[in-house]
């Protein structure tokens, strides 16, 4: 644990130094951090659901869910490079720019650097504490899990608005946090499914996952996908219906030109194709095939993040936007592996949460 913590601090320091030297790196770091933070948050959400409703699916993936959830405090530390150079990322740190338009000026009290950092600190600490308590082995904690879900869905709106939407402060939409959180749930569960397919049947600590159980994991992926699709589309529909210039203005660059093609790829590859694939039992009942669909969903979740972030920043897409998330992802997977340690990788039904 000390080793992982030390490695995380070194990584944060290196990223902060690189971010100071290169704005492109810092922008890529924000994307990478949002991606893997989202994956860990998705794991936290499913861990809460298992604490609340139990079920054999949860016993199977509990060790993986717990290890992924326990990376949240580490990811919280990796916010430091962003916190140290806010001005590079967020245009509202420039007071003159903020006062130039009346709508932005009205948001000046909220878009204050110190207030922003305080909000981020509180949110990340609260998430980390909840994550560590829920990831502990042992008894079921339905009360704490319910509290954690309420707190998470209340705070994720603030987090999403602060960290992503404030890149373009003219936009406001109340569904943004929920749309991001459900997308994170898809990404987190996809990571779990991929991990299951990689390790199951490989050792005594990772028994084979039977088709019935794989089907349950696939059904949950399908459910998370449906929820994300519904909320993400509803957000668009409400903006389309109201047709207010300040909201439509945020969507316009994302629906025309190259980003418009990306938007259609989200419809096709983040929703329609996985939807049709996950309807099929032969795919859901095979961990390997299910993991292929999950890999598509995890990749498309990152494409969605690019689609949300890049049109709002001054910088075009660069190779760092691919390299940094991959690098952070490898480090994150390594941290998960270390946190799993020598314990079980895949749980057995008789090891369900109440019987430990």
């Amino acid at each position: 644990m000390t080793l992982v913590l030390g490695a995380t601090l070194v990584l944060a320091a290196l990223a902060a130094a690189a971010g100071r030297a290169s704005p492109a790196f810092l922008h890529a770091w924000l994307l990478a951090w949002l991606l893997w933070l989202g994956v860990a948050l998705g794991a936290l959400v499913f861990l809460c659901i298992h604490h609340l409703v139990r079920g054999r699916w949860g016993a199977t993936v509990r060790p993986l869910l717990a290890a992924m959830t326990r990376t949240l405090p580490l990811l919280a530390l990796l916010f430091l490079p962003i916190a140290l150079d806010l001005a590079v990322l967020y245009p509202w740190t420039d007071l003159e720019w903020l006062q130039a338009a009346p709508l932005r000026a009205a948001k000046a009290a909220y878009l204050d650097a110190d207030f922003f950092l305080a909000r981020a600190a509180v949110i990340l600490v609260v998430w980390s504490v909840l994550a560590l308590r829920l990831a502990r082995p042992g008894r079921r904690r339905p009360g704490l899990a319910a509290l954690a879900l309420v707190v998470f869905f209340a705070t994720v709106t603030i987090a999403a608005v602060d960290w992503i939407l404030s890149l373009d402060p003219d936009m406001s939409t109340s569904a943004f946090g929920l749309a991001l959180a459900t997308g994170d749930a898809v990404a987190g569960w996809s990571a779990v499914v991929i991990a299951v397919a990689l390790v199951h049947g490989r050792s005594a600590h990772a028994p084979l996952v039977v088709p019935e159980r794989a089907q349950q994991l696939g059904t949950l992926l399908f459910a998370a996908l449906m929820l994300w699709g519904y909320i993400a589309f509803t957000q668009y529909l409400l903006v389309w219906g109201a047709d207010l210039p300040r909201e439509v203005g945020w969507f316009l660059p994302r629906l025309h030109g190259d980003w418009g093609r990306v938007a259609w790829s989200l419809v096709g590859l983040h929703f329609a194709a996985p939807f049709v694939l996950l309807l099929q039992r032969p795919i859901k009942r095979s961990p390997a095939r299910l993991a292929a669909v999950a890999a598509l969903l995890l990749s498309m979740h990152y494409v969605e993040l690019l689609w949300l972030v890049v049109p709002s920043r001054g910088l075009p897409l660069g190779w760092l936007d691919l390299a940094v998330p991959l690098g952070l992802g490898a480090s994150w997977a390594l941290a998960v592996a270390v946190l799993l340690g020598r314990g079980p990788l895949i749980g057995l039904p008789e090891e369900d949460i109440d019987r430990v």
């Binding site: 519904y230 668009y236 529909l237 389309w240 219906g241």
Partner: protein
């Protein structure tokens, strides 16, 4: 013997009936049915149960969704055009939510009614109901039924076979 519709073995637990079903399949019986108070995982596979109901669900969902989408298009773009905030009359984004809902409704209704038809419902009586113990199939007992229409059915051998599976009791089901 002529009056027999089949034999019914009664078990106390889900695992017992599952093991019995697998044994009956291994013994070559095909006219099998399992009755249990709740769905027992693995029984459908043990019975070799196959159904095309999923296709009914899928096709009905597609047809229902397409119908309501096109219907909305016809109403708004052809039959009764209204200028709503200057948007084009074929307002596809606005049609999506009803399309989603009706897809689910059509798929669900078609599945339920196709299931009724395939199961021969509605039906007021079945010979199984004449067995008094069968009432507990909806409470706490698990039953394996071997029908007399099975090509390998011979009363004495089937009775001995079911007896060898350690049931609580073997009941006669008359026509």
């Amino acid at each position: 013997m002529n009056g027999l519709r089949g034999l019914l073995a009664e078990f106390a637990g889900a695992d017992d009936v599952l093991a019995a079903t697998r044994a009956a399949r291994r013994a070559g019986y095909v006219a099998l049915e399992v009755f249990s108070p709740y769905p027992v995982e693995g029984v459908a596979e043990a019975l070799g149960f196959r159904t095309r109901l999923a296709w009914v669900t899928f096709v009905a969902g597609l047809l229902g969704g397409a119908a309501i989408f096109l219907f909305q298009g016809w109403v708004h773009a052809i039959d009764w055009q209204l200028d709503i905030g200057g948007r084009r009359s074929f307002a596809a984004p606005a049609f999506i939510v009803p399309t989603f809902e009706i897809t689910i409704l059509a798929a669900a209704l078609a599945t339920v009614f196709a299931m009724f038809v395939k199961n021969g419902l509605p039906r007021l009586h079945h010979p199984l109901f004449a067995v008094p113990a069968f009432e507990r199939a909806s409470q706490d007992r698990f039953f394996l039924f071997i029908g007399a229409d099975d090509p390998r059915f011979a009363e004495s051998t089937v009775r001995a076979f079911l007896g060898s599976l350690a049931p609580l009791e073997v009941h006669d089901v008359s026509r």
